[in-house]
Every structure is written in structure tokens, then in C-alpha cells.
Symmetry: C2
Subunit: 359 residues, 2 copies
């Protein structure tokens, strides 16, 4: 229940009964106790792998209400020691590349093998595009019926920073609930690929052959992040161009500096719709996991990611505070004009604004 609603209910009661304050306090204490019990039940539910509890817990951490701050902390710190045991796979690609079908097939393959699979999404634009990503659950209608699958559509209209935090915390909850494989999907909006890359162990880029796709749609830097490129819809007339694209991408990937983890990114063909190539993709990911777990890179990368999220959160907060300062908001456009008309150097302007923010 959102706090504003709760608050107004309390206020109504207050004005109705003409302030029986002690009764209200008693009610509040009871409610707090009930909540505390509820939270503990919720946590137990998550730890037992109950999907309804997991769903409620994610809804809780997605809450922006201050009233939930303590509960959120309790849930996360209780789940944290049970987290971190999954393999986290990031999946990106332009709309139309067949991400949902691919994720469903991979998910089915994994649940049939006995894995518990959770599917999450990072999509800061979903409030605008209305369910462009995972929103339409029917797109994964087989996977959603699997008892060992958990699909969580995203419905946030927040900043990417906010979405990232909540996705990352949702990952922890899913892991605490025993999901051992996490598929984190993103549409390529803004910096969302970088975000998903920073919270996963393996990063998959889905592409289509031909159609000028090499030259558009995929943002700069994404190819370098990929641990594998899957050329999807490699079927029918597409097979020939897909094979050509595979050669081209393989050559292109060789131009990049080697990754630190001893893994050279692979290019694979797949037709998710026909369930072709999915098996090979999973074999590849398993091989990767074996390599990086044995050479220590897996642990190192997670430690690095933790530190990244720590500093990222700190620095985002420092910036937000600075740029939302009323003086800075008022002065910034003026200062920018002075820079562009060569009355001020960017450095001089920075010194000036930094001083202003401290007044």
C-alpha cells in the first residue's frame, strides 16, 4: 500500500474522531508489529523460494515511499548472505531482433535441465514505450508456466540509476530465492547496456544479419562489451547472409584487444523461433563459466562490480546534489553561454560554480 494513501486514511480518522491520539498511537504500534511480522514472513517466503513472496519482495524494493526504507533494508540484508550464487547472463539487442523468443527458448532449455531461471529487465523507457520489454508476458507464454521460472516485467519510470539499483537488488532477491540462472534483458536505450553489463557475468549481444544492422541500431562500445554475438533469425533465406555476417563479426572481434579473462568473444548463429542453436549457446556459456571460475576471474569481476556500484552510487548522488542546487540550476545556463562566447574557460567556469555551490 503506498504511504500517501495510508497517511491520508490516518488523517481522516484523526479529523473524524477529533483526535483520540493515544488510540491512534496504539493502532500505529500494532500496525508496526504486524508489518514486522509480515516482513519476516516475506523474507522466509523468499528464502524458501516462494515465487509470490519473491514477487512481493521485489515490489517492496521498487517502492519509492520513504515509509518502506527500513523494510527494504531488512529484506536486502537478510537476503544478501544467501545471494551471489547464480550465473548472471545479460542479453541485449535492438527491438525486433527476437530477444523474447530467444530468452524463452534458453529459459525452457535451462528449466528442463533442472535449473531455476529468473528473467529480469532493465528498461528505463518502459513507462513511455508501455511494455516494450517483458511487459507483454504472453510473449513468453511457455516459460511463464514453468514452475522453475520466474519472470519479472519492469514497470519503472525512474532514472536509469534508480532502475539499475532496483534491478541489481532484484537479482540478489532472486538468488536468495534459489534461482541459479538469471537472464537480465535490456533494450538498447541510453546507457542501459553498460548498466546490464556491469551487473552480469556474461554479456550476449543479439544481432540480425544484413539489413544494414551492422551500421545502425547498436550503439558504439556495445560490441566491445559482448562476450558473444548471436546472429538470430538464421533460418530460411537468412542463412547465407547470417553465415557471411558471422565471418565478418569474427574478424571484427579479432581486431579488439584480448579480454583480461582469457576468453575470446564468440559469434554463433541461432534461430530462436525454430529452437536452433540455443543448445550451442548454452554450451558456450557453460564453458565460459568453467574457465572464469577456475582462473579466478569470476570472483574478481563480481568484486569489481560491487566496487563499481558502490562508487557509482556515491558519485551519482554527489552530482545530483550539485546540479539540483537552486543556485547552480540558475547559474549553469549563463555560465555555459559565457564559455561558448569565449568569455570564460570551462575550468574557470567550473571553479566559479563550485564556489557558488558552497555558499
Amino acid at each position: 500500500m503506498p504511504s500517501s494513501k495510508n497517511k491520508s486514511a490516518l488523517q481522516e480518522k484523526k479529523s473524524d474522531s477529533h483526535s483520540n491520539l493515544s488510540a491512534i498511537s496504539a493502532e500505529r504500534i500494532k500496525s508496526l508489529r504486524r508489518e514486522k511480522k509480515d516482513i519476516n514472513e516475506l523474507i522466509q517466503g523468499v528464502l524458501k523460494g516462494n515465487k509470490t513472496a519473491l514477487s512481493q519482495a521485489i515490489t517492496l524494493i521498487e517502492s519509492r515511499s520513504k515509509r518502506h526504507t527500513d523494510d527494504i533494508k531488512t529484506v536486502i540484508s537478510s537476503c544478501l548472505p544467501h545471494a551471489n550464487k547464480s550465473l548472471r547472463i545479460g542479453i541485449t539487442g535492438v527491438p525486433g531482433v527476437g530477444k523474447s523468443t530467444f530468452i524463452e527458448q534458453l529459459g525452457l532449455r535451462l528449466t528442463h535441465e533442472g535449473h531455476k531461471v529468473a528473467v529480469l529487465a532493465v528498461d528505463p523507457s518502459s513507462s513511455v514505450s508501455r511494455g516494450s520489454i517483458l511487459g507483454d508476458k504472453t510473449r513468453m507464454e511457455k516459460l511463464v508456466q514453468e514452475p522453475n521460472a520466474f519472470i519479472r516485467p519492469t514497470a519503472s519510470s525512474e532514472s536509469l540509476g534508480g532502475v539499475a539499483r532496483k534491478t541489481r537488488e532484484s537479482i540478489l532477491l532472486c538468488e536468495a530465492a534459489g534461482f541459479d540462472i538469471l537472464l537480465v534483458e535490456t533494450v538498447g536505450v541510453g546507457q542501459s547496456e553498460t548498466t546490464v553489463h556491469s551487473m552480469t557475468d556474461f554479456f550476449l549481444l543479439l544481432k540480425l544479419a544484413g539489413a544494414g544492422d551492422e551500421l545502425q541500431g547498436i550503439k558504439r562500445g556495445i560490441i566491445e562489451m559482448a562476450d558473444a554475438i548471436i546472429i538470430n533469425k538464421s533460418d530460411g533465406e537468412n542463412i547465407k547472409p547470417a553465415k557471411r555476417a558471422k565471418v565478418e563479426f569474427t574478424n571484427a572481434l579479432h581486431m579488439y584487444p584480448a579480454k583480461q579473462n582469457g576468453w575470446s568473444p564468440k559469434v554463433k548463429l541461432a534461430s530462436a523461433l525454430n529452437n536452433v542453436g540455443i543448445e550451442k549457446v548454452w554450451t558456450m556459456i557453460s564453458k565460459y563459466a568453467t574457465i572464469v571460475k577456475s582462473n579466478g576471474f569470476f570472483e574478481n569481476k563480481r568484486a569489481y562490480q560491487n566496487q563499481f556500484w558502490l562508487t557509482q552510487t556515491i558519485e551519482d548522488s554527489l552530482k545530483r546534489e550539485f546540479y539540483q542546487n537552486e543556485t547552480i540550476k540558475a547559474e549553469f545556463p549563463e555560465v555555459l553561454k559565457k564559455i561558448q562566447s569565449q568569455q570564460m574557460s570551462p575550468f574557470e567556469a567550473a571553479d566559479y560554480l563550485l564556489k557558488k555551490a558552497k555558499l
Copy 2:
């Protein structure tokens, strides 16, 4: 003269003469007047294109002494309206690729055509590597004798942020002194390529064919930044592999998304030592300049870079202040340990430290 030296001289005088304070004050006022006159002379010298004045002005802005803060501001704000009229070319490549020879040949080519050419370097490591970059002036012994060439070795042991600021301000001074082509060199240390990329109009990556160079040395993301890749040392037995590398890089570059400026990055062969290919490189850069000046991208990019340096300087300062806070310094390693042992989530830890910094 460094301020610490100056200060100790004053202190000696004071203890020697047993405090004739008013005499010292008079001396100080005279010295200030002299300095003010000196600064104006210095600025006039720079604006007249006097290389000695330019050199002294750069030494001044490189000073870390607080005593020079006002003078530096005066110099920069006086030069700023006369700056921004050059073409700024960034040049990077691993050590041994032949950057100095390439820059000398390109510089000679340009000065002979009547251009005034300034060569600067970004090398935050120079205090360690001792003159790895431009330090050994004899490496450009022909160019250094050209009246229309100005070569400034870097000698800073500062942070990259500090070096970047000073290089960017040096660019302004060189431009105010009438240098119309700036060659900004960097060895690929840390983030220095990104830094140079952010202060130049055209970014050249020098490479060698074969030798496994494709797979090492060049950091991730650098290839995407390049407006052109020059395969240097394309001579003798190297010609064949160089031609092969040219094809490979051209294909690789086609895999990238198109740049916003309407320019598709080129791959060229050169042998700087034999002065082969330099002419073509310059023709290419001239063509680029014509295109981006006519489609507005040149101005847009500079405006973007100005804003980048403004926000970058602000954010670096905010971060520095946070991480140098004594409480944070003491708590950070502890908090990091708690994150790695899953006692705390990175977000919780960030909230905790942010609160601590405000106490």
C-alpha cells in the same frame, strides 16, 4: 621561480634583519607591481606569437603555486578571445609505433606550407618514464629548428585531470599565439587517449602491421574513437602485412556504427621514416576539416567539448573532495570489506558513506 623557494628567501631576510616589516611590505608591493607589468608583457608577447613568451606562459599555468592563481586567470582570460582558431589533431599509438617521427614529418610538411604548428603532449606518466614522450627533443631535431614550430615537452607528475587541464589551457595559449595547427600527442597510458580525444578535432591512431599488435597494446574503445588509423612503418618487408592490415582494419571499422559527423574513419599506410604517405594523411585531414566545418559538426563538437570539460572538472572536484574526506578515507576500506563478505550491499554502503561525509 617556485613559491616555496621565494618564501624561504623572504623568511631568511626576515630573520636576518630582525623584522624590518615595512621594508619587506614595500618590497612586496614593488614586486607585485613588477609582476603585474611582467604579466601584461607576457600576454602581449604571447599574442604577438613570441615563442619564448609562450613558453613562459605555459610554465606559469603549469605552476601549482597558489601565488600564481591570479596571474594564471589573467593570462587565460586575456588569451581566450584570441583562441579557438586552430585545427587540433590528436595522435596516439603504442611506444615504438613511430609517433615522434610521424609528428616531425607532418609538422615539417605543414610549416613548409606556411602553417604555424604547435606540438603538445599528454603524458601523466612522464615523471615515471622520464621523457618517454617529447622529452627527448632531439627526436624532433629538424622540426624544433623551424621558426614556425613550437614543441612543448610535458614534464608533469600530476594526475591526469591536472595534466588534461593544463594541456587544454596550453592549447588556448598556443592558439592565441597564432599557431593554427596543434598536434597533441599521447602515449596510451590510462585514460589519456580519451582525454586527448576530448580536446581535439581529429583523432589519429598510429598502428603497426602484424606483430600481434591487433590483439594487444591498444586499449579497448580506442579504435572506435579514431577518425583515421595510420599503419606506420609500411616499408620494405612490412608493405605486404601492412596492406593486409589495412583491409582488415577497413572491414573492422565498417562494423562500427556510423559517426554522427558524416565521416567514415579511414585507414592509411605510411612510412614516416621515409616521408611516405604523410601527404595523403594531411589531404585526408584537410578534407575532414572542410566537411565538418561546412556541416556544423566542427562547431558543435567544440561546444560539446567545452561542456564536457566544464562538467568533468566539476565532477572530478566533487569526487576528490568526497574521497579525500578523512572520515571517508578511514571508513572506505572497512565498508568495502563488508560488501565483499556480503554483510552490506553496495547501495547500502553508499548511503552509509554519503551520510558520514555530511557529518
